[in-house]
């Protein structure tokens, strides 16, 4: 076991990790940040997406030790300290972009990374970007809609409802 230190959601954090400890396990079990979810063991589902140094990463695909010294952002750090949701979180609520909530942290973190690189993505660009995030509840309709809305585009024009 070695000590691993990083900045998580703007605060210094450290804990013990084995060489094989995944970042997802470290966040959940060592730091108690259980908002990052683990939905598979083949890096397919995306429930564990966090940002490492500003880049979206599947935290089950990275060792905790690799994040030594990094700036890590998780779902727990997305809302304002008073609980006010950020634009993407609010859009997910406004457009019913979540049901059971299990894939949601990864979806929100992926959406944030997408909008950082591509502030006005088309529907097709959103769908393609979300290839690495599985949702079993929503059929993706309201997730795509929420991301369109969060990017300031008119989601009400979308068919259905």
């Amino acid at each position: 076991m070695t000590k691993v230190s990083m900045t998580v959601n703007g605060k210094a954090a450290s804990g013990e990790a084995e060489g094989r400890t995944l970042l997802s396990s470290f966040l959940r079990e060592e730091l108690g940040l259980t908002g990052t979810h683990v939905g598979c063991d083949t890096s397919q589902c995306g429930a564990c997406v966090v940002h490492v140094n500003g880049v979206a990463v599947k935290s089950c695909t990275m060792l905790a030790a690799e994040a030594e010294g990094a700036e890590v952002a998780t779902i727990e750090g997305q809302a304002a300290p008073d609980g006010t949701l950020n634009v993407i979180q609010q859009a997910f609520q406004d457009h019913h972009g979540l049901q059971c909530g299990f894939c949601t942290p990864g979806m929100v973190m992926s959406a944030a990374a997408l909008l950082k690189d591509n502030p006005k993505p088309s529907e097709q660009e959103i769908r393609e970007y979300l290839e690495g995030n599985l949702c079993r509840c929503t059929g993706y309709h309201n997730i795509v809609k929420a991301i369109l809305a969060a990017s300031g585009q008119d989601a009400s024009a979308i068919a259905a409802e």
């Binding site: 083949t42 609980g83 979540l98 059971c100 097709q124 509840c137 929503t138 059929g139 993706y140 068919a159």
Partner: protein, 787 residues
């Protein structure tokens, strides 16, 4: 103007605040002081004689607390089956023992053989790898028809064969059905496969067992859709723990879709082991384990025949289905191909004579049980495919053929034992034609053709039966449980309410929609109502959430309990205003005396109930808390019409969904936003079944599609925006809310629409293709096009 509160409004979901900020409380987020971790050693062989399990080396590995094998569970009950089907000869089904850990034999890849309890998950896994197994491999039974052949290897040596039951429905109609076929002007026959699926809720299963030696109480935290059912089955049949010493908690649950209804061996193991090692014991399934240990869904092979007269009226329907049970009977497995399938074979149509035969078969595969729709998708798929095929054979419009045969008068008693209370199938078809813009299809097809693509349109109807009940009827059909639902409504002194429901939310949004109903009934703000669910210690005995039953059954129980509350508060209000009880009206949270200006507020009355100074103590008790158990008189029958437009790439066989429209009749709607979401999710799963998903076994009983690398889950770019509408509303006639249930419709109604559309596309190019089995992968579609 849409309403902003109460029934029919779409308030934002209150559960979202925690799910969006990473503060949900899922079972894997629960860690108890001193907990140990479980790793199950699972069979990698489909069928074998288990001669020995040597744990001597593993037991000495670092961190090992204890290793359990089948021997530790001799004398402990097996995992029970909750439904006993009686076959067409009056014999009860063959019901094999289902041990917690394998005893004597392994019968499917993934069956748990041993369990290591250790200080850390890695130590448990390492030690499991050091367990030495002596297994003599036996031939695997995989194909259902081969399993029934004379001389087949038996999955269970103590049963007479691999046949669980041979069910006929309605057996007395068989002769008349055969006669109708002999006299038919036209018979359409179709053989098809309803592909085996894996439910794959995004949250894998987790169980945490805890035992309090001081009190003798056991607690199980588990990813369940129905904690009371788990408490009853595990306590009474497996571990011998009475309910008052066993608490089951299902906290935030990350999706279920049926797969978290059932009582699983891992739950019983963790509860048992926590007592045995005297510390909390936690198991978290990996996704790889989930694929080989969660109950699968569907897996029917069917031959269906439709008889028509010279005027194209349906005269009879006959089906022959083989239904895979897997290696053991999961909790509700026997009911799925029978009472949840045969009873739906009338669909939306006036077919006077129906006979359904189902042979349920044991194989060396993971047990198969209910998955979103459960029996109803299988019924709908075969019926709507054979009707489509008949229309094409007869050269008539598939929509017109359906309309001609629609049931139009209600109540309608089908020849398969159920009575539809209400519906309007022409209305949903009219709505579908409008929202799907069917009139514009020809132009869209021309556009696709100009791009070198084949465009097809598939339309179908569906009916489902939700809120399965009443209990006395399902008992006669073999259910070993009641199918009521419960609610306790507790009003606090200052007027706020807590509803403790026996149903369970794992994505459906009860915490938001249930308060809308109470707010409507009393005329108070929704924020005054809190919903408690998922813990047997603080909710009344309930049957949980599945089969689209939460609002229709659980919501009705809540209404009944609230009616009792309102009746009592009116008595109190009458006393406070010195008026006759019959003159008291409750509106907008105010009690008033009819025809006067006297009134008291809701909060004044609730306070009087708990501070009964000025109170009719001689007539009624203080306090305001009421419980109701609601046992429905009948199923509810949501129905609708769906349309799918596909483009097929003739060079590759790749299918893309271009448009999808769903017109549903769910009766009354409490929260339209949530209903839309339920339909979207069902459509995603149904389209997934039609285009992508398949649990595939090879002849050795190895599951080839056992990870998200191999099992094609629908992704965002596989699916379109959906056009959904639920403005056609024929309220259910027998529950107090007039609601029917919406959770499964999308998954039931969409697969035939997709397949009908692909067949239409291929036929438009002159291909002689009448059917392609799901999933419609590019290779299958391309092969079909080559003839």
């Amino acid at each position: 103007m849409p309403k902003d509160s109460g029934i029919g409004a779409s308030p934002k979901r209150r559960e979202d605040a925690r799910f969006l900020t990473g503060t949900g409380n899922y079972t894997d987020d629960i860690n108890l002081n001193g907990q140990a971790y479980v790793h199950f050693l699972r069979s990698d062989m489909a069928h074998g004689k288990l001669n020995g399990v040597d744990t001597s080396i593993a037991a000495e590995m670092p961190g090992v607390v204890r290793i359990f094998t089948g021997v530790d569970f001799e004398g402990v009950g097996g995992i029970p089956c909750g439904w006993q089907v009686t076959d067409r000869h009056g014999e009860v089904m063959q019901e094999p023992a289902h041990p917690v850990l394998a005893q004597g034999k392994v019968r499917h890849v993934g069956e748990a053989i041993a369990a290591v309890v250790a200080e850390t998950p890695d130590q448990a896994r390492n030690a499991a790898e050091a367990i030495e197994l002596d297994i003599e491999e036996l031939p695997a039974v995989v194909d259902m028809k081969a399993a029934l052949a004379e001389g087949s290897t038996k999955v269970h040596d103590d049963l007479t064969s691999n046949l669980c039951y041979d069910w006929g429905f309605v057996e007395e109609n068989k002769g008349a059905v055969d006669e109708a076929f002999a006299n038919a002007a036209h018979v359409t026959t179709l053989e098809l496969v309803n592909n085996r699926l894996v439910a794959n809720p995004m949250e894998p299963r987790v169980a945490v067992g805890d035992f309090n030696r001081a009190t003798g109480d056991s607690t199980l935290y588990t990813t369940s859709q129905n904690p009371h059912v788990i408490r009853l089955l595990m306590g009474a049949f497996v571990l011998g723990i009475p309910e008052h010493k066993l608490r089951v908690i299902a906290p935030d649950v990350g999706g279920g879709f049926g797969s978290k209804i059932f009582h699983y061996a891992e739950e019983a193991f963790c509860t048992f082991a926590a007592k045995a090692v005297n510390r909390p014991v936690k198991w978290t399934s990996s996704r790889s384990e989930a694929f080989v240990s969660d109950a699968h869904g569907r897996d029917h092979v069917t031959k269906i025949e439709l008889a028509l007269d010279a005027a194209n009226n349906f005269t009879a329907l006959r089906t022959d289905t083989h239904a895979n049970m897997g290696a053991y009977l999961s909790t509700f497995a026997p009911s799925v191909p029978t009472w949840l399938h045969g009873t739906l074979m009338a669909g939306n149509y006036r077919t006077p004579l129906i006979y359904v035969n189902v042979k349920a078969v044991f194989t060396n595969t993971v047990p198969v049980d209910a998955y979103r729709g459960a029996g109803r998708p299988e019924a709908t798929f075969q019926l709507e495919r054979v009707i489509d095929k008949a229309a094409r054979e007869l050269g008539v419009d598939p929509i017109a053929l359906r309309r001609q045969n629609f049931i139009t008068e209600f109540p309608y008693a089908t020849p398969v034992a159920v009575e539809y209370d209400t519906g309007d199938y022409n209305a949903t078809m009219d709505k579908l034609e409008e929202i799907a813009d069917l009139a514009g299809f020809a132009a869209r097809r021309a556009e696709s053709e100009a791009k070198g693509k084949l465009r097809g349109l598939g339309v179908n109807c569906y009916i489902e039966a939700c809120g399965i009940a009443p209990s006395n009827l399902v008992g006669q059909l073999g259910a070993r449980a009641g199918l009521y639902e419960s609610a306790t409504v507790r009003v606090n002194a200052t007027g706020g309410l807590v509803v403790m429901t026996g149903s369970h939310s794992h994505g459906q949004g009860h915490e938001t929609s249930f308060p809308q109903v109470i707010a409507e009934m009393i005329g108070i703000d929704e924020s005054m109502v809190e919903i408690v669910h998922g813990d047997t210690a603080n909710t009344p005995m309930g049957m949980g959430t599945y089969g689209s039953r939460s609002l229709a059954v659980g919501g009705s129980a809540m209404v009944r309990a609230t009616e009792k509350i309102i009746a009592k508060t009116k008595k109190i209000a009458a006393h406070l205003m010195e008026a006759a009880e019959a003159d008291i009206e409750l509106k907008d949270g105010q009690f008033s005396v009819a025809g006067t200006d006297k009134s008291v507020a809701w909060g004044d009355v609730t306070l009087a109930a708990y501070v009964p100074h000025n109170y009719p103590l001689e007539e009624i008790e203080p306090g305001l808390e009421e419980t109701a158990f609601y046992d429905p008189a009948n199923f509810t029958y949501p129905a609708g019409a769906y349309a799918c437009e596909v483009e097929v790439d003739p060079d590759t066989g790749k299918v893309s969904i271009e448009r999808f429209a769903a017109a549903d009749d769910f009766g009354n709607i409490v929260n339209p936003m949530i209903v839309d979401g339920q339909v979207h999710g069902g459509l995603g799963q149904g389209i997934g079944q039609a285009l992508l998903e398949a649990a595939v076994y090879n002849d050795d009983g190895q599951l080839l599609s056992a990870s998200f690398m191999d099992y094609a889950m629908p992704r965002a770019d596989d699916l379109p925006f959906y056009q959904v509408d639920h403005s056609c509303q024929t309220p259910c006639t027998h529950n107090p809310l007039g609601v029917k249930g919406c959770g499964e419709a999308g998954a039931i109604g969409s697969p035939p629409a997709v397949v009908n559309a692909v067949v239409d596309a291929l036929q438009s190019a002159g291909k002689d293709v009448t059917h392609v089995d799901m999933p419609l992968s590019p290779s299958r579609v391309w092969a079909a096009m080559q003839g």
